[in-house]
Structure formats: structure tokens, C-alpha cells
Amino acid sequence: MNAWELIIQQPLINVLIVVADALGNNFGLAIIALTIFVNICMLPLTLSQLRSTRAMQALQPKIAELQKKYGKDKQKLAQEQMRLYKESGVKPAGCAITLIIQMPVWIALYQAIMLSLAVAPEGLLNLSRYLYNWSQVFAILPLNREFLGMNLADQNFILAILVGVTMWIQQKMSTTTTPADPKQAQQSQLMLWMMPMMFTLLALSFPSGLALYWVVNSIVRIVMQYRVTGWGGLRRQPRTETAPADKGKKYVDFKAPMGEKRSTDDVGADIVIRDEKGLIKPDKKRYLPGRDRNMKKRKK
């Protein structure tokens, strides 16, 4: 047995089996209990990671400004970014380091789940290598894999979908701001969908015991995320953000897409008037070429 198996995998497997035994030989409940327990143990690390991520996201507009300003001078850009991080008290490596520390624990936990499931006969035989000399550990195996009408050794479509949904919610909550750079925004949008979809596919391919672990893990993370950032990216975002200086002003938006060349009579159709709350109803305020807006006044 190597160090990884001895220090991390073996204790986790035995704890998982003992918990299953304590919960009436219910492996599903054991997975839920252990996932929650491990999450609680990692709470300080997770919270620090979430806070670092939030701080990093809050700095995004300033970083975008710096990128605009020093886009060509990469060295200067890096210097300025570091200065900004220092001034704001943000450690950019913090997120990554916390994630790196957490990663082995998550990997060990899902390896422990897969090993304890002992899906194939070879799995049960392999499991015997990891057992402590505790009488209840030996006698309870193989674990009861029935949970809420599912066999945790088989694939389960509903759990796989739940994996994707919960992961998407968690990811969406963690993206509190949209990157100013449209390419970055597009990339983060892709990531938002890619990860949940990939894990859904993985969940469809592996025993549902693993999917149960992913779902519980995502739910716990959602709760933690809520405590730190609230609903985050799930909150309805205003369509456009206006600077405080613009408050109360009405202005003309020329960003409406230009179609094919039109006559000068149509020009006004592309002019949209709005205030900080959003669009002003076009039938009331929109300029319609060829019509005299002051006709009513003049008639009077």
C-alpha cells in the first residue's frame, strides 16, 4: 500500500463503511453524511477560497481598465496588476492554493466511494486490502447499495441531471460580475455550461453512488456560496449598468445593429431613447421620421 492509500484512502474507506453500518447499512446515507462532514472539515479553506474569488471578481473592472491602459506593455501591466492586488489585499494565488489543498481530499473521497461500492467482483476483492481489523467492517460488506429505489452501483439518469443542474447553479452563483472583456465573458459563459455538461456525461457513465456524492457536494457548496455572496450571479442582472454621473439623464443609444442600407426616412428607427431604468416605450418616445411631433401642439 502506498502513502496515498495508507494515509488518505484507507481511513476514508473504513470511516465510510463504519458510517454506513451506523446508519443501518445504508450506503447512500453514508455518502451524504461523509460528504457533508468532509465539507464541514474543509469549511475554513472553502470560505477563504470563496472570499478570494469574490474579491478577485470585484477587481475585474479595474483590471479591465488596466488592460486597456497597458495592453501593449505586458511588464507594466503585470506590475500594475500586482500593485492593485496588493492595495486591495487580494492574493491571486490564494484561490489556486486552496483549491490544490482541497483537491486530494475530494479525489480521495470519490475514490473511497468507488472502492466501497465494489462494483465488480475484483472491486470487492480489492476492498479487502483496505479494511482495518474491526469486526463490523468485515461483516457488513458488501454494502447495501439500494438507496431511494436506486442501485448506487448502476447509472441513474435523474441523479446525472441533478449533478448538472446543481453544478450549474453553484457556478452561476459564483460568477457575481460579468467580465468587461467580451472574449472573457464568452469564455466564462462557455465554462458555466461546459463543466455541468461534462459532469452530467460523467455521471451517466459511472455508478450513481458517485453522482450522489457530486450532487450532495454541489448542494453544500451552494449553501456556502449563498452565505458568502448571496445568490450572486443567479440574481437578475439589470440590462445595462449606468454610471452614477448619468443618473437622471436620457441619452441616445446608437448600438442598435445596423442592417442593410436604408433610406434616410428609416434612420430614426435605429435611434433608441432610454434612461437608467431601461428602454422608454418606443411608441411614445421613439422618433418616427416623416411625422411632425409638434403637430398636436400646432393644431391647438
Binding site: 462494483v119 475484483e122 461546459m194 460523467l202 451517466l204
Partner: protein, 388 residues
Amino acid sequence: MRKRTDSKKRRGHVLKLGLLAAMLIIIVGVSLGCVGGLTPIGWSGGKVADGTLFVGSKEGRLVAIDLADESRLWAEPLSPDGGGGGFGCLPVAGGGCGGSNKVAIYGTPAVAGDLVYIAGYNGKIYAYNADNLATRWVYPREGNLEPFAGGAVTDGTSLYIAGNEGKLYALDAVTGDKLWEYETGDKIWSTPALSDGVLYIGSFDKKFYAINAADGTLKWTYQTEGTIVTTPLVADGLVYFGSFDRYLYAVNIADGSLKWRFMGQNWFWAMPLIHEGALYAGCLDKQVYVLNPASGAEIASFDLGGQVASSPVAVDKYVVFATRKGVVFSIDTVSHQLKQLADYEKDVDGPLTAYEGIVYVHTSELALERVNVLTGAILSPISLESQS
């Protein structure tokens, strides 16, 4: 020019995302890859009849090896039912993994007359002509049962086998028609033992059963505190089997009463063996225990340094064991000397086979390793890889 730069950048982004996805797949794949036992591979032992060794290969085929000239014959591969999905490896009825359609074979083939029988993890039982390996019959003819992780036993007229459905089946050995079935409380992985018209088998329901082979009626049961997967051994009015409660049991075959039990530090997975008046039992606690078969008193124990899952064989005055790491040992039953014969450095989980002083070891690879117990000579392995 600008368009070209934009498309280059876009391609760069796509590449980055692709790399990220690939990394994720690698992380998940490697992490799960480290978890052994997700895929059913099989560990069939060998059976020798008239100088021909029959074994189920890890390609999911029955192989017949003429031990005189080492010529081999392969049966048609067992057909999987369903398949592993996506990236994963699930022991579906077909035993497929990530698109693989090899059917795992765990049971040792049974031979009677001109027929050879084998059961697959695809939930089917096959009978082949021993001389050309042409299929004689398949049970069930339509569809599949739950996987079979044990082997069959036959008296020439009936074939007895049990599977994951928890049922012990009696089939007509010639036609494959079902004669009777007996249902236990859970899955069965062990091969039944047949002695004097009584079948002995253990189940995942922690009970050990004695069933009349003629009509499938229950004779007695013995309750243990753990799952039973060991193939039982019947000798001198006792039946010996191991249980997941870590005990090796000796039960009277007449009435199912306990004669004695012996505790190891892990499961007794392998079938024990009686030779020269002593019982040899390999255990997953890496020990081989030598016990008095009548009283269960410990005579000696040997530390093999590795778990013992494969059933031992007797050759002359030696009892030969293999560890799961592929180290083969012989124990001299007279002097109680332990001797290492070979170290194959490959997984060995299936039963050993002995014929004319040579022990055949089915390793995790597609080969039968061979060692001459009497001379200690390691012979070249016999490949089980099919030509087609």
C-alpha cells in the same frame, strides 16, 4: 488581416477550452483509474480433461489447450448484453468497459463426457463440444440472466450453477433445459460443491445451504455473520467454507451443525484444500493456515507476504499457493518448509491448476504462466490471445 487575427484568437480560445476539458477528463480519469476493480475482468481457473486444459480467457472466450503439443483452440467469444457507457466502466451484464465488449469469465469450466460448460458475466451458460468448441447449447436461449461470478458443477446428467439472481439452477447437462431452481436470499458468487447427491453453496445472505440435487429441496442451512463467496470443500463428513465474518467454518454435512470454526484476520476467499491429513486455507490476511481438519486446531501458519485469493493445488507432497501479487509458493507438507517458486509480478486472483507436476497460473494478462513444482523450473507461458 484583422479578420485573420480574430480567427486566430478565436482558435486560441477554443484550444484553451479544449485543453481545460481534456485536463478535467484526465483528472477524473486518472483518479478513477487508480481505483481498481471498476471493470469486471474475470479470473477463470483451468480444468484438465484427457490432456486438454480448458480455461476462460480474459478475452471472454473458452480456450482449449492440448498440453502435449500446446496447440490451442478458441471458442466463439461470449456475446455481451448491453455495454459500458461513455467514459465509464460499469459491470453491465456484458461486462463491457468504455466500449469494450469482452465478457468476463470467473468460473472454472466444468467438463463431463464430450461437453465443456462455462458461465459468463453476461448472465448466460454455455455448453461446447470438447473436441472442436462448437456451441452445443446456451441457457437461457433468449435474453440474459443476472451475471454469473461462479462456476458450474456437473455429475454428467445435470449441471448446477448459481448467479447474481441468488438462484441455484439445475439444468439438463445434454440439452440445457432447466430442471429446477432454488432461490436464496441474495446473490451467489461461489461454485457449488456436489457430494453424494447434495449440493453445498454459500450466499450473500450470509447463509450456507445444503440442497438435494435430485429435486432442489432444502436439506439444511447454516447461518454465519458474513457473506459467503468461498467455493466449499467437502471431505470426511464435513463441509469447509469461509465467510466474510473472517471465520473458516467446518459444518457437519449430515445435519448442518457446527463442528468448529477458525478465525483469520481477513476473509477466507479461496477454497481450502486437504492434503496429507491437513487442511490448508489461504486467507486475505496474507497467511496460509494449516489446520487439523477434524478439530480446527492450528498446526502451522505461513506468511506469504501477499493476500491469497486463489485456490491452492496439491502436487506430490507439496501444496502450491499464489498471492494476488503473483508470487507462487510451495509448502512441503512433510517438513512444513515454505519455498518461493516464481514471482510473476502480475495479479493472480483465480484458482491454480495442476497437471503432471506443472502448475498453471492464470495471471491478469492473457497468458497461463507455468512452473514445474518438482524441479522448480519456470516454463514459458502459454498465450491465451486469440489469433482472430
